[in-house]
Amino acid sequence: MINKLAIENVSKSFGNVAVLHDVSFVVRGGEFLSVLGPSGCGKTTLLRILIGLETPDSGKIFKDDADITTLPASMRKMGMVFQNYALFENMTALRNVEYALLKSSALKNSYNRATAREKAEEMLEIVGLEKFFDSKPSQLSGGQQQRVAIARTLALNPDIILFDEPMSALDVDMRLSLRAEIKELAKKFRTTMIYITHDQEEAFAMSDRIAIMNAGKIHQIDTPHNIIESPADEFVENFVIKNINIKINSLIHFQRKS
């Protein structure tokens, strides 16, 4: 198990609108891959196909060389974090995690009330919410709510976690601290992470590799450094140059870190 993912010739249309055109790429086990692209280019659709919320019209998806194209979402050992948190608002932070542990068919009742509670507490502590076990989502800040969602996702021990713009609803300070935490979690759990963002700085600062996407196609998938140094085509060049200031800033950031 190295938690890699291979996407082969995936296409998808809604009605007569083609959203993904023959997309192929490989996500390496344990890597942090960001997907960058303009609004409406098909990023969310791609994630939903990877996790099994949509089925592709054609093409295949392999996880560690097993064909999972038609496998139900719950059997893929993958997790997903949504932009709007998607917490169970009527439950406390702790209960959100506990409930997932107790109800998940993938875990086949391997938790009882006591062990689920213990595990839930542990997960919330990992994301720094030890003081908020009994808070309802409405009593938490956006950043804290997203932490609960991350704890809930991590609790099921997924091999791969997909993030769909998890921070776009948060303010800048919160983004910076959550960004560092997500990176740390990636290292700690050795989880493969695929991360959609609109924020180029974020992508350049966090990622092992970045996929640049436009109009249902992947234009380039490479390290941040290579994307800046040798953009594959005009679109990538323009798309990245538009944010030249950000680019320079994050390069500095990037180099300082590595």
Binding site: A73, S74, M80, A86, K103
Partner: protein
């Protein structure tokens, strides 16, 4: 796909509960010379009378509601919650009881008529107008109050900076903002009034309106063809109101953002508001108090001694059994109707497919069908079927009649919940049923309480659709009111109204209590 199968099933259900019955009614007109019916003297007279009386009543009703909603929403009067609660009390009794309240006060032997030596009493045109205003203005008030309360305050602040006066502000800001919703309020009120037959039956006298004529044609002369022709005419304003309502519902949502209205201190204005509110509340309660008193008086106005004879008489001829019928129907409609509305709304709001929109339309068709029209179509469609003549048909007709509002409440609530909850369930392997039971429904508790209460209250007091479908066995209590009215036993009718009011007040208290509990 499984969800599509369920949707098809629901569409079929609506086909049988509303579409086919309506078509059946329309089909009786096939052999009819429509032109002849419509131009008959009696018909055209009823038509114009309906139009006149409903227009005047609508104008007064919406004006009263408008002034009242301003007085509550835009001033600093205290106890706004309590005021709103008192204002909706008229919505807890059948419209026919309002007509009765007026007769007791302004009728030939009315309290006020006696004091001032008026003869003749308030029958006919003005009786219908005021009776209609009584039950319809609280509904218009609720709509207008919401509109005023959520109006964006920013333009007013801007106007103040420019230095616009109050009158200019009203014409430049308030009126344009109110125009669309106001039109839909007017049409809804007009529809409610022109399709009602309780008030004109009680107080109309010789002033015959379309619903009364339809009732007489069908019940009295078993002339289903003519009844259907009238039904079709009554469908028109309701259909227009329904479309307008949908249009303004959509456009309203946009203006719900922005800053709430800042209400400045202004004692003179607040005093005026207080006087208005007080006057309206008195006007609401005087007729209600009047029939509450009358119910326990020996023989009004001859013998004013207290007496339980009328209550006893009502029980003698089966009030208890009919009350039991009513309660059984109301509770069953409340439970089954709410369950069906929740299920239906889940399918249209949270399991979206192409069929969802169609099912959504099917679910709100009932908004455009007046009770008496629905009742008539049911008679023709279900006659001879197994459920005809029993409690079940009353249950079905009530669920259908009152479905749209609670359905829309559920639809709105479900639409507002996070759209990814089911996806989270799919990813984590939590079954859809668990997500619904443990996450979606618990977050909709308040809405569910309101839905149940709406179904219950309306089932308790309706006399429209059910009057075509009832017999001595399955009759609900509310139908004893027109029965007693027909026998000139107004004290007994008053007693029955009081019992219905009591049951509905109880329901309202239960609703408030549950709402507090689930907050």
């Amino acid at each position: 796909m499984k969800s599509n199968h369920l949707k098809i099933l629901l569409c079929l259900l609506w086909l049988f509960m509303i579409v086919l019955p309506l078509l059946r009614m329309l089909s009786t007109m096939a052999g009819l010379n429509l032109f002849e019916v419509m131009t008959a003297r009696k018909f055209s007279r009823a038509f114009w009378q309906s139009l006149n009386v409903s227009s005047v009543a609508t104008f007064i009703s919406v004006s009263v509601a408008g002034v009242l909603s301003w007085a509550v929403a835009r001033t600093n009067v205290k106890h706004k919650q309590l005021i709103s609660t008192l204002i909706i009390v008229p919505m807890l009794i059948p419209s026919i009881s309002h007509g009765m309240g007026l007769i007791i006060i302004f009728g030939a032997n009315g309290v006020v008529s006696k004091i001032f030596g008026l003869t003749g009493g308030i029958y006919g045109f003005w009786g219908i107008v005021f009776g209609s205003v009584m039950y319809s203005f609280p509904v218009a008030y609720l709509m207008l109050y919401d509109i005023l309360r959520y109006e964006d305050g920013t333009p007013y602040e801007a106007a103040e900076v420019i230095g616009l006066g109050a009158i200019d502000r009203f014409f430049a800001i308030t009126l344009p903002y109110l125009r669309k919703p106001l039109i839909s309020v007017i049409f809804a009120t007009f529809t409610m009034i022109i399709t009602d037959y309780g008030v004109p039956l009680m107080i109309g006298g010789k002033y015959i309106t379309l619903p009364v004529m339809m009732y007489q044609d069908v019940i009295g002369m078993l002339d289903f063809g003519k009844g259907s022709a009238i039904g079709v005419v009554l469908l028109i304003p309701a259909a227009v109101a329904c479309v307008l309502d949908m249009v303004s519902r959509d456009s309203n949502r946009l203006s719900f953002v922005g800053k709430p209205h800042a209400i400045k201190d202004n004692h003179a204005r607040d005093l005026v508001a207080k006087v208005i509110i007080f006057a309206v509340i008195v006007a609401i309660f005087v007729p209600i108090v009047a029939f509450s008193v009358i119910a326990f008086i020996k023989k009004y106005p001859v013998n004013m001694a207290m007496s339980f004879a009328h209550a006893a008489r009502a029980f003698e001829i089966g009030a208890l059994k009919y009350l039991a019928n009513s309660l059984i129907i109301a509770v069953a409609v409340s439970l089954l109707g709410t369950a069906l509305a929740l299920f239906n709304a889940y399918m249209t709001a949270r399991a979206k497919t192409k069929l969802s929109y169609f099912l959504h339309l099917m679910s709100i068709v009932s908004l455009a069908v007046p009770g008496i029209v629905l009742g008539l179509s049911y008679v023709m469609f279900f006659k001879g079927s197994m459920i005809y003549g029993g409690l079940v048909i009353l249950l079905v007709v009530n669920i259908t009649h009152f479905f749209a509002s609670p359905y829309l409440m559920a639809y709105n609530t479900f639409s507002k919940l996070n759209e990814n909850l089911e996806s989270v369930g799919l990813i984590m392997g939590i079954s859809r049923l668990s997500v619904v039971r443990d996450v979606i429904l618990p977050q909709s508790k308040q809405t569910i309480v309101k839905m149940m209460s709406y179904f219950f209250i309306n089932s308790m007091m309706t006399i429209s659709a059910v009057s075509f479908l009832s017999n001595t066995f399955n009759k609900p209590l509310s139908l004893m009111i027109p029965q007693f009215e027909g026998q000139m036993q107004i004290e007994c009718a008053a007693f029955v109204s009081l019992v219905i009011l009591g049951a509905n007040v109880m329901m309202k208290i239960l609703e408030d209590f549950s709402l507090k509990l689930t907050r």
